[in-house]
């Protein structure tokens, strides 16, 4: 249940917070603060998420089966507090891909209307 293509479409478009969390977890499992760090790092600190937005989204993503808790353990790079780690489910991965394709399509539209240069170069300060 909850894993058909139809169900993938039903969740789109994702909220920015949900998509950002999926992206942060795409390459490895992370704890809450790890997700925040990854986001800040990838967006040069432009995108910041507070604890409330983060855990509110996590709660709904768990219920939707996008992510799963993968145990509690300390992070050796921080301190010896145990932290809850999260990882992407297969379903979460498919949803993230579908959302990325949807956004890609919109980028193509922007390019065809000359809002963006063709073939990458997103970022705009060049």
């Amino acid at each position: 249940m909850g894993n058909t293509e139809q169900n993938v479409e039903k969740l789109l478009p994702l909220t920015p917070a949900v998509f950002a969390i999926l992206l942060a977890l795409a390459d490895q499992e992370r704890h809450g603060y790890g997700i925040m760090q990854e986001l800040a790092l990838r967006t040069d600190g432009k995108l910041r998420m507070g604890p409330g937005t983060l855990y509110g989204s996590i709660k709904r993503m768990l219920a939707d089966g996008l992510i799963r808790e993968s145990g509690e353990r300390p992070d050796p790079t921080l301190d010896d507090e145990r932290r809850r780690y999260y990882r992407l489910t297969d379903f979460g991965q498919r949803v993230a891909q579908a959302e990325a394709r949807r956004l890609e399509q919109l980028v193509h539209v922007a390019q065809s209307k000359r809002l963006l240069p063709e073939g990458g170069g997103i970022g705009g300060n060049r």
């Binding site: 603060y33 507070g50 604890p51 509110g56 932290r83």
Partner: protein, 354 residues
């Protein structure tokens, strides 16, 4: 990571205290599940902030926190309000049934204690990996405290949990509580039959028996079956519900109205129990069921734990820590109190989709 200078540490402690207060604005269930993790994330972010010297970074940080809090407190409150209305209208149940709602976070631990030579407690925790079995039969937890000479208690408690697991998952009976009770009865029968083969006096010293408390979590209900003095607690907010029937002689006298607990304790019968698996085929297994709520914590344990640590302390520990940490702390507390018996605890945090 570099240690912070003292004034930074003070500032950190103040900020954390303030944020902890603010977290009280969230609905209780949300706070219970995520308070600790949110505080940890906040602490780490605040640490990052202290390592930057820009004064306007602080302003930016606190306005981000205030904005985040304002928006998410409103949305969580709204959601819990909607969930409450659905419950009033009786619509939540269907939704729950339709969506593989039950999620469990479980830890289980058993320990010899400090004075016993062997561990005669046994536990199992079964969370079926496939959705179908989970929906039809649910997750099963059993704790058993064996007794008998020549460490036969170990054999008895092991036989009980194995039989219960096999019988329960193979039983085609649709009524969960009946299936669970039958599984415990089957375990009793198996041990009674085993005891009946003991004929000589020499053999009779190999008599064995065991207490047992079995719990099934399925959809949004908890099902309990037990015999003896191993118990099951459902912990919800400030409440502690004891779901099993305690068949200790002392508690039985109080239940029968024969004496007060103080009078019963004065009889010095210590840990005598009035029934267990392995004694007689006439055993009456106690069975009960209870509605679970999101955020409830189920604790199963032997008297090596609940005989030493009060319900209130058990509640405080499992609500403060995750299941794994809780189980470890419960066992450690029992050992700190002398650890006179084997100690076993299963801690399961129940999440229901809402």
């Amino acid at each position: 990571m570099n240690p912070l200078p003292p004034d930074a540490r003070r500032s950190q402690a103040r900020a954390e205290q303030f944020y902890r207060l603010l977290l009280h604005l969230y609905p209780v269930a949300f706070r219970r599940t995520y308070e600790r993790e949110m505080l940890l994330a906040f602490r780490a972010c605040y640490r990052d902030l202290l390592q930057q010297s820009h004064p306007h970074e602080r302003l930016r940080f606190w306005s981000m926190i205030a904005f985040d809090l304002g928006i998410t407190v409103c949305s969580e409150r709204l959601r819990s309000c909607v969930a409450f209305c659905k419950r009033l209208l009786g619509r939540e149940r269907n939704y729950l049934m339709a969506s593989a709602l039950l999620r469990l976070d479980v830890a289980a631990l058993t320990d010899r204690g400090l004075t016993r030579d062997a561990n005669e407690d046994t536990l199992i925790s079964v969370v079926p990996p496939d959705t179908q079995t989970m929906q039809q039969k649910g997750a099963l937890f059993v704790v058993a405290d064996g007794m008998g000479g020549h460490t036969m208690g170990e054999v008895a408690s092991d036989l009980a949990v194995t039989t219960i697991r096999e019988t329960y998952y193979q039983n085609p009976e649709n009524d969960t509580l009946t299936a669970l009770r039958q599984a415990v009865e089957q375990a009793n029968e198996t041990i009674v039959q085993r005891n009946e083969t003991l004929r000589t006096r020499e053999e009779a010293s190999r008599w064995m028996g065991t207490t047992c408390v079995a719990a099934v979590l399925k959809d949004d209900r908890v099902y309990i079956a037990n015999a003896g003095d191993s118990l099951a607690y459902l912990i919800r907010d400030q409440e502690v519900l004891q779901l099993a029937q305690n068949h200790s002689w002392e508690v039985e006298q109080v239940r029968l109205g024969a004496m007060t607990l103080e009078e019963a304790k004065a009889q010095g019968k210590g840990n005598v129990i009035t029934c267990c698996l392995g004694d007689t085929l006439e055993l009456e297994v106690y069975a009960a069921t209870e509605q679970a709520q999101d955020g409830d914590i189920l604790v199963l344990c032997t008297d090596g734990l609940h005989g030493l640590i009060g319900e209130e302390e058990i509640r405080a520990i499992v609500q403060q820590y995750g299941p794994e940490e809780s189980a470890a702390r419960l066992v450690a507390r029992a050992n700190e109190s002398g650890g006179p018996d084997n100690i076993t605890a299963v801690v399961a945090r129940i999440s229901l989709a809402a």
